[in-house]
Assembly symmetry: C2
Homo-oligomer: 411 residues x 2
């Protein structure tokens, strides 16, 4: 890489901050749920930057947007991408960094007047977080054929709105069909969102793959009744069953040990009143493991405990899968290229699996794919205090740049 190919860190940080102002929360952090008004404003800002950089924009039918910088040859592009939606209590970096790093690389190439052999594209993918609509990785999942388009457009979110309606409402229901984006390769820079790199004092994670993700919604139905008059023996308390399921999720993670994780993130009762035995409980369980066989064991044990707990309380339980993605492994050549680039740039590097789902996971079955991780302070993510220092960001972008440029061919 020519010595003048130095990214402008201030420019990148400026874009990160500007995007973070859209949907900024009073106490810090960002809320830019997928397909919300804030998401539309964020998309408009990023699309404006893409156009300013001379990229050729395409929007597909699920609202994914990518901008292509021509190469000498009219071949499949090297795609750098991630997402710009956030959870309700998100930070500045999750997703946004991967997209804006792509723009910074394009601008650096533009400034240096460098033409690559293959085109380089920068993309952002709809609803990676799954915070408003399940499943997560929705846009990249549809784009890469892992999710059905019609089912996805009909998906109803936590606020009762449909994906298809919201796409049209914010003006991002595009024309390009699923599989329109055919990358030569896919590269994603992302904050680790976990504690490993920080703890070990290592600058760069060369991500080897993403663990399997299983999201299940349990709906428990009991009988609402009076909290004061109903003898314990006569209760059909949906909330007690839900609490048992929640603690069983924790018990499974404890029993299986790492890398198994289990989280009950959502839990609601009806009618949710202090003196009424709940007639309904809805809770979600997020199970993950790098080993699909163990993940299936965890799912099986959780389901059977849920059925048993419901039966013992005289309740019923219904299960709905909200997301189910098998573990994926990234391209060995690209993972090795990330290790080499990091070493050449003088950064510590380690191979590691990803605990979080990522758009790269959806691309991996279709094209050579890899990810670069940078440290997350205190391992925090999906939290308004998510933080990665500017110099750590520079290291990650430099590694990404080197690998992307080698792949695109700058010779």
């Amino acid at each position: 890489m020519a010595p003048d190919l130095r990214i402008d860190l201030d420019r990148l940080m400026g874009r990160l901050r500007a995007l973070g102002e859209i949907g900024a929360l009073p106490g810090g952090g960002v809320k830019r749920l997928a397909l919300s008004d804030a998401d539309k404003a964020g998309r408009d800002l990023v699309c404006g930057w893409m156009r300013d950089l001379g990229l050729d924009l395409t929007t597909d039918c699920i609202g994914n947007v990518w901008g292509v910088r021509r190469g000498r040859e009219d071949t499949a592009p090297v795609v750098i991408g991630s997402h710009i939606d956030t959870v309700a209590t998100g930070g500045l970096y999750d997703g946004n960094l991967g997209v804006l790093a792509g723009l910074e690389i394009v601008e650096t190439l533009n400034d240096a007047g460098i033409e690559t052999r293959r085109p380089v594209a920068v993309g952002f993918f709809t609803n990676e977080e799954g915070a408003r609509f399940a499943p997560d990785m929705m846009g990249s999942g549809v784009a890469q054929g892992a999710l059905d388009l019609d089912d996805t457009l009909a998906t109803v979110g936590i606020d009762g709105q449909r994906v298809g309606d919201e796409l049209r409402r914010i003006g991002y229901a595009g024309d390009a069909p699923p599989l329109a984006l055919k990358p030569d390769s896919f590269l994603e820079l992302h904050v680790e969102q976990g504690p490993v790199l920080e703890r070990e004092g290592i600058a760069i994670g060369a991500v080897t793959g993403v663990q399997g993700i299983s999201w299940t919604e349990f709906t428990v139905t009991g009988v609402s009744n009076h909290a004061g008059t109903t003898p314990m023996a006569m209760r059909h308390d949906a909330g007690v069953v839900a609490a048992r399921i929640a603690l069983e999720a924790r018990a499974i993670a404890d029993a299986f040990g790492p890398p198994q994780v289990a989280t009950v993130g959502a839990f609601r009762l009806e009618p949710d009143l202090v003196n009424v035995v709940p007639q309904k409980a809805v809770l979600t369980v997020d199970l993950r493991n790098t080993d699909n066989v163990r993940l299936i064991e965890a799912e099986t044990r959780l389901r059977s405990t849920a059925r048993k707990a419901a039966a013992e309380e005289g309740c019923t339980v219904e299960l709905r899968s909200l997301a189910r993605f098998d573990p994926v492994e990234f391209d060995e050549g690209l993972v090795a290229a990330i290790e080499t680039a990091a070493a050449e740039l003088g950064h510590g590097v380690r191979r590691m699996p990803s605990g979080a789902g990522h758009d790269a996971q959806m691309f991996a079955p279709n094209c050579p794919t890899a990810m670069v991780f940078v440290p997350s302070q205190d391992g925090l993510s999906h939290n308004i205090n998510e933080y990665t220092a500017p110099e750590e960001i520079r290291a990650g972008v430099d590694v990404l740049f080197r690998v992307a440029l080698a792949r695109a061919g700058a010779d």
Copy 2:
């Protein structure tokens, strides 16, 4: 009682149905939360009936309304009362029956041209349910000096509105101060809301008292984080602590045995998203026992488990008392009078404690008080399928009438 003093059951059932239409739910049942628009409409309807019957109306500063039928002597009235607010999934009978039975008795006396020695009053008391604002028995509690007026007016409900503002908004912030209602005695007819009378085939419950009620809100604070990347050992999951508290409430009820009951009716997580470790959980626990010493033991055990569970998870927990009423015992003379009246009328009768809180509980320390229970089908209450058959209602009103008339003096 003269043989022509026969209540008009159809008239009473007609009033019950008419009141039940206000706030009727699509699938049956009623939602008429205290101080809501529906509550205002229900109050207006009942006040209209009171005026039609020639009663002298008073509204006090907490929105309680009572209408007085003069007696030959200008003494304290025999008060027949209950409430007309409902829970979110309420039935036609809970509370409403006790108020409309009072009106039916007044109308029967009017029709027969009977003058009593003491005045007879019919009252309804604000927010007995505690479904929108805690504590329950709010209106009768303020009226009888068990709750502080200013604190109560400042209480914020589940929808963020204040009691005082809502009272003014619906036009029921009256002039009469706390303790303005000084009854000679207080009588309340109510559905049992439990299974005992039906199971034993007994028409009338002569209620001996009300068990102690303890409502506590637990707010658990942890750290929100990513469900996929955060190792189990590094979590501070507010939801797991909340689930432990919920199951401990159940365990306490199981360990103590009847009459101890424990209910987690409300349970909320923040941010309540499938892939975010919850940073906050708020849940309520409703504990009841006829024995105050046991109730205190249950409260102590629950609190200590909550603190332990929070500490083990690296979370904090804050406790807030939403309601705390000691058990009360009703007036032996009136309880015996109910037994005698039931027997004279040919109805099976048994003494029993009340599992539910009632307005009568607030009057008991200040004047001779008692309650009449009628059966609840399948023991259901706070449920849209709450049901008591018309003939069962007649039996209850007849007993109430006889006891009230004896007390008021119809000689």
